[in-house]
């Protein structure tokens, strides 16, 4: 059913009000139905404390709104005012038990707690949302996005702004080309792409990429991280880790599985704390300019190959708490200190997992857990 918008214009008494009054529309809405709003312009402010109806009030008499009241879908659509003067605000009231599909071509979106799914899109402007029980897709071409906990999958995208989200019950896709990403606990996997720093408190599988800035993951089942320049750190990674930074440190306080990490300039620190000593625990650490420090379990079976490409003037290059064997020079050559100082091999508990530690310029330290 399509009806023209009812404005608050009425009899002669209200004529004066009509010049500055607002447009208003109302449709009944049931639990689980979807509210669709397509605004050509204006900020959308959604109050989710309503009952049984979706109401919209646009504080501009220049905006024309069409409403469609359906059983499963309630829709409010507007064209753009011409000319635009001042800020336009849409005040929307709905029950929290509905799904939301809101679009504004230019403006901010502000939504309270919602039990359903939400799709919030703006061509530019910030988006703030409360706790969303269902799935959430929030997209802006610029401006920040802040959301509370999201029960299902979450997709947050901004070209420039910072993304902040609480806990996510499903998988998360987080993209911003010039902003920061901050996320709480993500039950599923997360794919995060940022222009600046990425912080994730806890997640399943993590794939994180930033052009510039740190990547910090508190706890994850698996991590694949890449930074154009910044530190990569994790307090605990329960599975494999792959990480590369063009400049910055890589630090894993507790790695339970294999680790492949490289930095062009920075230190690498890895403490290997595996749940299963029989699993794949290989390590390939490469620091261009920087020190490498690894802590290994005393019972680990490994073949360690440590090398320093350009040794420092006087200080010791390779320090190991495990017995090490200097690498022998090519056959027929006489052993001398120039070989022993910069490369060593160790067989721990008879050998096994391949552990390659290489720095072009720095020191390598191998310690026992």
């Amino acid at each position: 059913m399509i009806r023209p918008i009812r404005t608050l214009r009425g009899g002669p008494i209200l004529v004066a009000l009509a010049l500055s009054t607002s447009a208003f529309a109302r449709c009944p809405i049931s639990d689980g139905a979807t509210l669709v709003v397509k605004a050509a312009v204006g900020d959308l402010q959604v109050d989710t404390t309503g009952r049984d109806a979706a109401e919209v009030q646009v504080e501009s008499n220049a905006v024309q709104v069409q409403e469609t009241c359906g059983k499963d879908t309630v829709q409010f659509i507007s064209n753009g005012p011409d000319p635009i003067r001042g800020t336009i605000a849409w005040k929307i009231t709905v029950p929290r038990t509905v799904h939301l599909d809101l679009v504004t071509m230019a403006g901010n979106i502000n939504v309270g707690d919602v039990d359903g799914n939400v799709v919030l899109r703006t061509a530019g402007g910030s988006v703030t949302a409360g706790h969303i029980t269902g799935k959430a897709a929030i997209i802006t071409q610029g401006g920040f996005i802040k959301a509370g906990n999201i029960g299902g999958d979450a997709e947050l995208r901004s070209q420039g702004g910072t993304l902040e989200v609480g806990d996510v019950g499903g998988n998360a896709e987080l993209h911003t080309s010039a902003g920061v990403i901050r996320a709480g606990t993500i039950a599923g996997s997360v794919f995060a792409e940022a222009g600046r720093t990425i912080y994730i408190a806890k997640a399943g599988e993590v794939k994180a990429t930033t052009n510039a800035g740190d990547i910090s993951v508190g706890d994850a089942a698996r991590i694949n991280a890449k930074s154009g320049g910044g530190n990569i750190t994790s307090r605990r990674v329960r599975g494999p880790f792959q990480g590369h930074t063009e400049s910055g440190d890589i630090r894993l306080d507790s790695a339970a599985s294999w680790v492949e990490a490289s930095t062009r300039a920075g230190n690498i620190f890895v403490r290997l704390v595996p749940d299963n000593l029989d699993g794949d625990l290989h390590m390939d650490l490469d620091a261009g300019v920087g020190d490498i420090t690894v802590y290994l379990p005393p019972r680990l079976r490994a073949s360690v190959d440590a090398s320093v490409q350009r040794p420092a003037f006087q200080s010791q290059q390779i320090i190991s708490e495990f017995p090490t064997v200097p690498v022998r020079p090519a056959q027929g050559m006489i052993p001398n200190k120039f070989y022993t100082g910069t490369r060593s091999e160790s067989l721990l508990n008879g050998g096994g997992n391949k552990i390659v530690l290489h720095t072009a310029l720095g020191k390598i330290t191998i310690r026992k857990n």
Binding site: G86, A123, G142, S158, Q159, G160, A312, S315
Partner: protein, 313 residues
């Protein structure tokens, strides 16, 4: 100093740690009363010993020290092992028993490691964290232990005098503490901003500089980062640092440049929001914005400008 003195001086450390056997202790004490050189060595070592004992908390011995000491000891043991055949000659075995040499080597290794550590600690306490300039008297001391030498060339070598002139480059890790007001700190941060290969370093420099954007040189550096940096994150952070000054002429000009030229809609949106917030009802700005954004493909930016123009009429 004769051979006996060397032996006695090796025993001094054990004496100070009360680890010397009773008979040896009496013998050493008697020798110290008679020998000025050994007494001097004893006094020196005792001073060091008491200095360490006075402030045990201040000498937090790093874990590396033990490992390095062990390594040095292992090297010495290897040496002993390789030369073992010599000790089997009776003449040598009487004076230089392997155990005695082993004991000496251990003490030398520990002493060296401790000496290096203590001298590093003392240097740390009295010096700033930048290395001293090269010393003309002793150039070798100007090369830091952790420095790396590259491109070393022999410029001159005179076989007659044994003089050699070398040239090369030394690089070493840098750690510098200072206040933002310090010129060196600023120069280092500006230098980081020019590091074209390292957007992470540039981003962190911009973040730090944004804490003091009121300073003219810092403001210029931020404007430069906003306009010229290749990385969107760095440009965005520079813009955030300058936002509160969007009513100043040169910052406004930089934001206008961003609006017209930055390919990232998010940054342009931040720029337009900052300009509008800091310059309410400015008709001249409205005119410039209309011109600058009429071809912008982002509806938010065009709408914001239209709204702003509306407020100035």
């Amino acid at each position: 100093m004769n051979v006996n003195c060397k032996d006695y001086q090796h025993q001094i450390t054990l004496l100070l740690y009360d680890e010397l056997a009773e008979g040896a202790r009496h013998e050493l004490e008697a020798h110290l009363r008679d020998c000025g050189t050994c007494k001097e060595a004893f006094d020196s070592e005792r001073t060091m010993h008491s200095m360490l004992a006075d402030d045990p908390t201040g000498w937090d011995v790093p874990a590396d020290l033990l490992v390095e000491s062990r390594k040095a000891l292992a090297d010495q043991l290897d040496l002993v092992e390789r030369k073992r055949s010599w000790w089997r000659i009776p003449t040598f075995s009487v004076v230089f028993t392997p155990m005695r040499l082993l004991e000496s080597a251990a003490l030398i290794a520990m002493g060296l490691a401790l000496g290096v550590y203590v001298s590093n600690q003392q240097a740390r306490q009295v010096q700033p964290t930048v290395s001293n300039p090269p010393s003309a008297e002793n150039p070798a001391t100007a090369i830091p232990r952790n420095g790396t030498i590259s491109n070393l060339q022999v410029v001159n070598a005179d076989p007659a005098t044994g003089q050699v002139e070398l040239a090369g480059e030394v690089s070493q890790p840098l750690r510098f503490h200072g206040r933002m007001e310090d010129d060196t700190v600023r120069q280092l941060l500006f230098s980081a901003l020019r590091d074209g290969n390292n957007p992470g370093s540039r981003l962190k420099a911009v973040e730090v500089l944004s804490q003091k954007p009121t300073d003219e040189s810092i403001e210029e550096a931020l404007i430069n980062a906003l306009v010229y940096d290749d990385d969107a994150g760095v440009r965005m952070r520079a813009l955030e640092g300058l936002k509160t000054f969007a009513n100043e002429q040169h910052v406004q000009a930089a934001f206008m440049h961003t609006l017209q030229n930055d390919g990232n809609a998010g940054i342009r949106i931040e720029a337009i929001d900052a300009l509008l917030a800091r310059n309410p009802k400015d008709p001249k700005l409205a005119q410039k914005l209309t011109e600058a954004t009429k071809k912008d493909d982002n509806p938010y930016i065009r709408t914001k400008v239209l709204q702003f123009v509306g407020t100035t009429k």
